[in-house]
Amino acid sequence: MFTKKNVRMAIIHIDGKTYQVKEGRNLLETCLSLGLDLPYFCWHPALGSVGACRQCAVKTFKDEQDTKGRLVMSCMEPVKDQLRLSISDKEAAAFREQVIGWLMTNHPHDCAVCDEGGSCHLQDMTVMTGHSYRNYHFTKRTHKNQYLGPFLNHEMNRCIQCYRCVRFYKDFAGGKDMDVFAAHNHVYFGRHQDGILESEFSGNLAEVCPTGVFTDKTLKQHYTRKWDMTYAPSVCQGCGLGCNIIAGERYGSLRQITTRYNGAVNGYFLCDRGRYGYEFVNSDRRIKQAAVRNLTGTNVGTAEALQQVKDKLASGKVIGIGSPRASLESNFALQQLVGRDHFHLGMSDTEHDLTTLALKILRQGHVRTPSMQEAATADAVLILGEDLLNTAPMMALSVRQAVNRQPAQEAMNTAHVADWQDAAVREAMQDKHGPCFILNVQPTKLDELATRAYYTAPETIARIGFALARQLGAPLAEINHLTEEEHQLVEQMAAALMSAARPLIIAGYGSACDGVLRAASNICEALHQHAKPSMLVLTTPECNSMGLEMLGGLRLDSAVNVVMNGEADTVIILENDLYRKLDKHVADNFFSRCKEVILIDHLYNATAEKATVLLPAGTFAESDGTMVNNEGRAQRFLQVYAPATTEIQESWRWLLQLGRVTNCERLRNMEFFDDVIHALTQQVRCFAGIDKLTPPADFRIAGQKIPREPHRYSGRTAILANINVSEPKPPVDGDTPLSFTMEGYRGEPPSSVIPFFWWPGWNSVQSVNKFQEEIGGSLHDGDPGKRLIEPGGNGQLTFFTEVPGHFVPCAGHLQLVPIYHIYGSEELSVHTPGIAERMPAPYIMLSPEDAKRYQVAEQHQLQIAIDGHPYTFTVKVNPALQRGMAGLPAGLPGTGIVDMPQMAKV
C-alpha cells in the first residue's frame, strides 16, 4: 500500500448521509471502509481498480438540484469534496442486478457441487444485488479445463471474466506462465498449455478468484464446506517470515490453510509452501502413541511414558536440545526442565552463527527492521546473498512492489492518476523499475527486476558489501581484490541508495556467510550516518529461529561434545531432526553414544529411528504457542483442534508433566498455557509483552467464549456416532478464550483471536473488509503480533570490521554452498505430496570450468568427500556459478550434508 502523509479529508454525501473521508481514494473502497455494502468483482485492495466488471455502479449527482444523476463505476471514481452519490438509487441497483444477470448467462448451476460454495464471492454479490430469476434461456459457452499442477483445480466454465487472476499472477506476483487468451465471450484464463503453474504464489489464485475457477486442490482431496470446519488463527511454520494463516479442520484432519489477513505482515497473500505444506499434520508418519524402546506389550499410555522418562532422567546425565521450529513455550519449558546450563539450541553451526549475528545487528544497530508491508514501501532494494523466492518467498512480493515504487510515483505525477488506477499507472510506467541490485551465488527469478544482478561467491558478496559501506562513508579499510566491474557496481549501488528516499537492504541465511550480514549492517549504519532512513531485513531459516535465539542457549556442537566425551548421556530432543542439523556421520556417532534419546516430535524421522522414547507432540494445529519471526515480531498461533489420540499433546505440556513427575522446581505450579507464558515473560526480559499477544484464557465477551466454528457448523451430533451414538461433550479449551464449538460470541473478537473471517452477507474471503480500519489497513484493534526488537542505537554507530577473506578456489576441492528450494528445503512441508512432487532430486551444481576440470557433465555422478566421508551426487552445470564453488541443495531429504559452507575434496 502506498502511504501518503498529509492526506486531505473530504465531505461526501451518500444517500442523504454525510461522511468525512480521505480525499483521493476511490469511491468503492471508501464506501466499503465506511461499512457500506457495495458489490464488486474486478477491484481488489491489493490490485487496485480497472473498471472491467461494471458491478460497483452507483449514481452520482452534480449537485443538490440534480435528480437524474449519472451512473458511474465507484471503483474508478476518485473521492472529491462535496461529492454526492446514491447506492440505493433504483437505477443503480437495477443495473447492478443486471450485471449479475449477465454473468449468469454463462455461469453454470454448479453451486451444489462447487468447492467455492459457501465461501463464494459471486454467491455473496448475487444475493447482495437481489438477482434471483435468470431470464437468459439460451445455451452457455463451455470451456475445457487444464491441468495446472498439484495445488490448483481449474474449472473454467465458472469464470466471470473479472481478470483478477491474471492481474494478480502477472502484474502483482510477476508470473509469466499464465495469461488471458482469445477475445469476446470466449476469453480464457489459463496456461498456453497444461502444466504446473510456476509461480511460488499460485495458490493465492484460489482466494483471488471470486468464483470456483481456481480452487484448492489439496482441499479437494478431503473436501469440506467452509461453514463445516473448525478454525483457529495460526502462524505459518514454513520459513522465518511468520505469515499469518487460518487453519481449518474436520473429522480430526487438517483440511485447508488460508490467508489470515495481517496488515503489517503478509497482507492478503501467502506463498505456496505455506499454503500447501500442512499435510504433514495428517501424515501416516505421525507419531500417535508414546513409545518406549524395548518395552514390548500394549501401547504405552501417557502416565506410563512419563514414569519411564522420569526413571531415565533420574539415572542419566541430562541435556536438552531445543528447536527453531518449536514454540517459545516449548523451548522454554525444556530449558527450565534441564536447566539453562544444559539447554542447547538445536541449530546447525552456521545457522546458529547467523541467527546470533542477526539478533545482535538488530539490537545494536540504528536501522529498523521493517515488517513485510513496510518493506513494500521502499523505493530502492539491495539484496545480498538471498534467493528470496526460495529463502523467504513472501518477502519477494514486497520487493516487487518496492521496485515499482519510483517509476509508479513518476507515472502518477505525469499522468495525474491515483495509485489505485492500476492500468493507467502501469501504462504510464511501462516496464521501468526503480533501483534494485541482486548479488547471489547464482541467478534468481527476481533478477528480471534488477538494475544489476551479479553472481559470485558469498565471501565476495560480503566484500562488495563492505566496499559499498565504505563508499557510503563507513570507516572501513579498503577492500582489495575487487575487479573493475565490482568497483563500478559498488559506485552504482552507492549512488542509487543515496538518491533513494527509503532504501531496503536484505540479507540473511541464504548466503550461509556471516560476512554478508555484517556487510548489510555496515551499509545500513553508513546510510544512517547520512540521515537516510533505510530498512534492513535479515532472513532467518526457521519459523522460530529468532525466538529461540532470544531465549538463548548453548550451541548444538557443544551438545555433541558433552555426549561424545561422556559428560552427558541422556538427551531430550524437542521437535528437531538432528540429521538436518548435523552431518550424517556426526549425528550417527552422537546417537551411538547416547544412552537415552527422548524425542518429543510429530513425525517418524531419522532421529526418531534413534530415539529410545517417543512422545507424540502436537503440531501447530494441535497446540498453542508463540513464535518470533525474522522481524522480531512475536506472534501467537492457537490450537485448531484436539488431536486424534489423547497421547498427542503440546510439547510444552509434555514438558510440564515431566517437570511435575520429576519435581522440577523451575516448572512448579505451571499447568496451563498462560502459566508458561507468564513465567516466560518474568524470566526473559526481552519477551515482555507477549502475554498480551492474545487475551488470557479467562477472557470472555458478554460472558461468552469465542467459537472456533461458524454458527452453521453441522453434524456435531453424528460425527462420532460410529464410536458412540451419544454425542460427546466437546473438548474443553482451558488454555485460550476460544471454544471447540459453534456456541459463543457472535460478534467481532479481538484481532489476535479471530478464528475465521465471516460477516452476514460476506461468506467469502472478501469478508475481511469488515474487519479492517480501512480497506487494506490494519485490523480493527491493531494487527496481531508484537515487535520485540527496536533499533538500539543511541549514540555511536557500530561498524563491523571483520571482512571475509578473498575467495580463492582450492585445487582439488570445492567450497560447498547451500542452494535453497521453496519446495524441498523445509522439513515439514515436503510431506505434502504436491510439494514433494516439485522437489528437485539431490544434485551438485558446478561451474562449467569445474565440470570440465573434473571431467563430468550434466547428469554424471561426482563423488566428493568431507572429512573422509564420501558422498555422491548427480551433476548440474550452471554457467553463473563461481569456479571453485559447488552448490548443494539445502535441506533435501537424504542429502546427508547439512552444514554449509564446507570444503569438500573431489
Binding site: 509469466k176 506462465d177 499464465m178 495469461d179 487468451f181 482469445a182 477475445a183 498456453h192 511501462q430 516496464d431
Partner: protein
Amino acid sequence: MNKLLTDFLYMLTQTEISKIEHELQQVPVKKAAVIEALKIVQEERRWVSDENVDDIAALLGMSADEVDSVATFYNLIFRRPVGRHVILVCDSISCWVMGYEDLKQGLMDHLQIRYGQTTADGRFTLLPNACLGCCDHAPALMVDNDLYQDITPVMIKDILAKYK
C-alpha cells in the same frame, strides 16, 4: 544473434529472425514487436504453430503465454493450419443486404466445406470476416491478398480457379 539462443529455436529461418530483429529496433520495449513477429512468421508459413510461438517468445524475451495471449486475440493470426489459400468472406451488413447469404451458400456448396474448415486437398480455407470496406461493391470477398467485389454466386468458380 547469440548462438546460445539460436540453439534453442525450433525452426525460425534466418530471414524470419532478421526481419524480427529489424522490428525490434523500432520499438522501445521488445514485447511491443510481438504482433509484427507473428505477422512475419505467418507470412511464409500461413499459420503460426506452437513451436513458432515458443521461438517468438524466446526472441522477444517473453513467455509463450504472453505471446499466445496476443496471438489468440486477433482473428487474422491463424493458430491452426490453413489451406494454401484463405478465403475471407465479408459477412457484414451491406454485403448481407446485397446477397451475402447466397454467396456463402454458393461457396460452401462449391468447396464442400463450412466456415473454419479446409478443403480435403488443402487448397482453400473458408472464413468469414468483418466489413472489407468496399460496401458500394457488395458483396465482396478476399482470397489471400486479392479483393473481389460485386460477386454473384456464378462468379465463384472462375475466381477460385485462379488459385492452385
